[in-house]
Symmetry: C2
Subunit: 506 residues, 2 copies
């Protein structure tokens, strides 16, 4: 085929992907609307709309035409003519295509129905703390995933194939190493913290806080972070989330708890971190499958970097505590900034992951990781999960759930078949600490910037090193190019030792 033929094929391929991206964006907006205020009587018809658009998207993703275009563009002669970004687009598309194509359509359909039913069963089961109600669904979901893994293929460990969906390149071998190293240090640190006589006072965090004031302060901090309100908006939902429809429209939501000054604020900063990532993806990537975060772990590193390493830092509160005091006129008059800072960093083993502090959060993840790993090496049965769960919570965190509702049933993930997702949260913490180490070198007055309310250079640094690349670099390429080395859990350990050693005077 001539060069013209090549260019034509490539253009056609890009147009095709752009159409797929349009469908994705439409579905994304519908979901945002459903969660932020769509009238409930319209939901059943709207769900059919989602079904139609998602169905069309899936059809396009496995179509004969897609197959032909990919076959053409992956031929060595043609592939070598593509630029780096185009090669990434083709490689990513081929990976998605192969993954979708290997599952027989009927099996996939059945699985979609199964997980929809499972989520509803899980809700009831959690509500009634009755694992038996959920167990048969979970058994089928695990079995289906084992079957999918066989169809997809795997290397080393079956679970690797699932991990790769959320964190491309991540393996059990790597996670065993980094989680092992982390746990080895976190568990004794936690014991020392619990034994410390210097526990923070926290009673002042629990007063009644006006919702409008909470909103005003959340918006103020978002602005300080460099969140672009012309490319986004903040709404209210039961479960906070961020959604990047395109880099010019990245919306976040939060939840206001009237008896808690921190929940909405740190929730907003967390989602704001996700949003900064999506708002700053290079415009060149719009309309391609690379116009998104490179992995769940790197995405989570940004939400957690902003939430914990900036938002829960001492320089941050040195700068913004006065503003908070003014915002809640009178309610913090007798609370010194140091007390507030220590309170927002209280460490306390608990049963519920989403309420966990920055330190113990990782242990919650490790419990789930160990269980998922065993499910897919088939060394544990679904029936035995509650027992395994409770043992590991006792072992890692020293706490025992009173029932399965606050134990093994607490998270929605498994009902949707999202195995391999949990590790991203802890990976995010490790990536974030590792990146901070580099930022501190490259922006030597890092603490000074924060204390001066000068957060934009930090955002710009991250945009340059991480955000703008979207999925054009792999997670490994990102962490290596930013920090000069692969994922290394030591930086998170060091960060914890320094921060909590200071707070708890260890």
């Amino acid at each position: 085929m001539t060069t013209n033929g090549f260019i034509q094929k490539l253009t056609e391929f890009k147009e095709y992907l752009k159409i797929m991206k349009s469908y994705e964006e439409a579905v994304g907006l519908i979901y945002w609307d459903m969660r932020t205020g769509a009238p409930k009587k319209g939901i059943s018809t709207r769900s059919e709309v989602v079904g139609v658009l998602s169905g069309e998207l899936f059809k396009m993703s496995v179509s004969e035409k897609m197959g032909e275009m990919l076959a053409y563009l992956t031929e060595q002669d043609h592939f070598s003519k593509l630029d780096r970004i185009e090669q990434r687009i083709v490689t990513e598309s081929k990976k998605d295509y192969d993954r979708s194509k290997r599952i027989p359509p009927q099996k996939y359909q059945d699985y979609v129905v199964l997980t929809a039913q499972a989520e509803s069963a899980w809700e009831d089961a959690k509500h009634q703390s009755d694992y038996a109600m959920f167990q048969p669904y979970l058994e089928k979901i695990v079995a289906a995933n084992l079957e999918f893994i066989d169809l997809w293929g795997y290397e080393g460990h079956k679970y690797n194939t699932l991990l790769d969906m959320y964190e491309p390149g991540m393996t059990v071998a790597k996670l065993d190493q980094v989680f092992g190293a982390l746990r080895e240090k976190v568990v004794p640190l936690l014991a020392a913290i619990q034994a410390s006589p210097h526990q923070p006072k926290t009673d002042f965090l629990k007063q009644t806080f006006d919702k409008e004031k909470q909103k005003k302060f959340s918006l103020y901090i978002l602005k300080q972070m460099g969140y672009d309100f012309e490319a986004g908006r903040l709404d209210e939902t039961v479960h906070p989330f961020a959604t990047g429809l395109n880099p010019g429209d990245v919306r976040i939501t939060t939840r206001y708890l009237l008896d808690d000054v921190n929940s909405a604020l740190f929730g907003t900063i967390h989602e704001g971190g996700h949003a900064l990532y999506e708002q700053n993806i290079s415009k060149d990537l719009i309309g391609t499958p690379l116009c998104t975060g490179t992995s769940m772990g790197i995405h989570e590193s940004q939400s957690r970097f902003w939430e914990n390493m900036i938002g829960r830092s001492r320089p941050f509160w040195k700068r913004y505590y006065g503003d908070l005091q003014n915002n809640y006129s009178g309610q913090f008059d007798n609370v010194p900034v140091e007390d507030f800072y220590r309170a927002t960093n209280e460490v306390k083993p608990s049963l519920i992951r989403i309420e966990a502090d920055e330190l113990t959060y990782n242990l919650h993840i490790m419990v789930r990781y160990e269980i998922e790993k065993e499910l897919f090496s088939e060394t544990i049965r679904v029936a035995d999960l509650p027992e395994a769960w409770n043992e590991k919570y006792k072992d890692y965190l020293g706490v025992s759930p009173a029932n399965n509702g606050e134990g093994v049933l607490q998270d929605v993930h498994w009902s949707g078949g999202a195995f391999g997702y949990f590790p991203s949260y802890a990976l995010g913490n490790m990536y974030a600490a590792q990146m901070m180490r580099t930022i501190r070198k490259e922006l030597p007055d890092f603490d000074g910037l924060i204390e001066g309310g000068n957060l934009l250079p930090i955002k710009d640094w991250l945009a340059e090193k991480v955000y703008r690349h979207g999925k054009a670099l792999t997670p490994t390429e990102i962490i290596t190019s930013v920090t000069g080395e692969e994922l290394n859990p030591d930086y998170l350990v060091q960060y914890f030792n320094e921060k909590y050693g200071d707070i708890y005077k260890l």
Copy 2:
């Protein structure tokens, strides 16, 4: 083909239409979002999403498959086996198909581009009161429509083909008759009103009114009308509108003017009237092309019925004026209900259609109708529109615009090629008055219901007679089945004579 073959084809056809309706609903939601608060930096990418979905919808509407299905189902043998609703679906779909199919795709594309450019040119032209900036676009749009009319065919008058798009079955002959009869009575009535010494006081309408209070009162009245907030929501936009995404999700918007107590309120009631129509369409019609109002005129009859014949009636204010006084605590203490009622019905010839009162509004429409009719009988040139406009305003309303911005350039419609749309507004007034005449017979205590704040029986009556049918009945079938006769302008004339004879003591 066997009965099974017939049923299979019919099912396939219905599924196909349902998918088209899903695309429409997705596009509708995107437009709603764009107008209510989508971040501006995301709009250009979002517009491409709209392009993709609308393009797909158009492709489906003129596809070979659509052609085949319609050919099959319109065959006498098959058509006769359809039930009444199915026949309407096929007939409507065939009409749309033929209309779209007759325009060569390239011509249609060019026209879409032309009107997009024209709208933007119109905005500038209006802003600068410079007709010459808009004239070349309008010339092309009129020429394109004349060409389309030739392709579509016409009976009697070319303009009939355009009228039929908004008001199926409406003709120049009919409009000449009803508008003639109306104008003959309205013009002298207007003269008498202007000569009356009993002009209402209106100064108290112009105070400063708190936005939250306006919103609260608007929501209260919507609830009284029977607007279902589980199937809708009220938002704020520059230009108020109603959009029926599906009968379970019919959203309305309004605009709050801080110096005007009535603007947001009557705007909300107006859009609420449109919304009641869409919320009460029978669930059986969901997913079909009949799940919408039957015509622009009938739709407008409902917004105007609620806005003017209920909302601007004396019994309405006898019931709700106390609530309004409480809502704006103190601001209406010295204004008797009768003064408020008369003020909300002030008649005053003006230049701007959208600010016109109920009576003179129809004259604004007739100006536009006469001009459009002449454009498509080619008895006037686009270049001569400003002059014709100004003459007719002088003639019908006795006012003269100071410039083309408040004259011929005031409305957006022509820039989008929406010729034939304007008459709907006046038709709505006539339909509404005609229906009220019947309601008064069938619900003899009509005024008592309103004065008792008992609006739901009125809504239920309209739902039963009009709303539930959606587009399953034609506008003529609706007005005939509801009132026992075809469109008759006398009822609007009677209503005006009684109402304004009383208010202005004629």
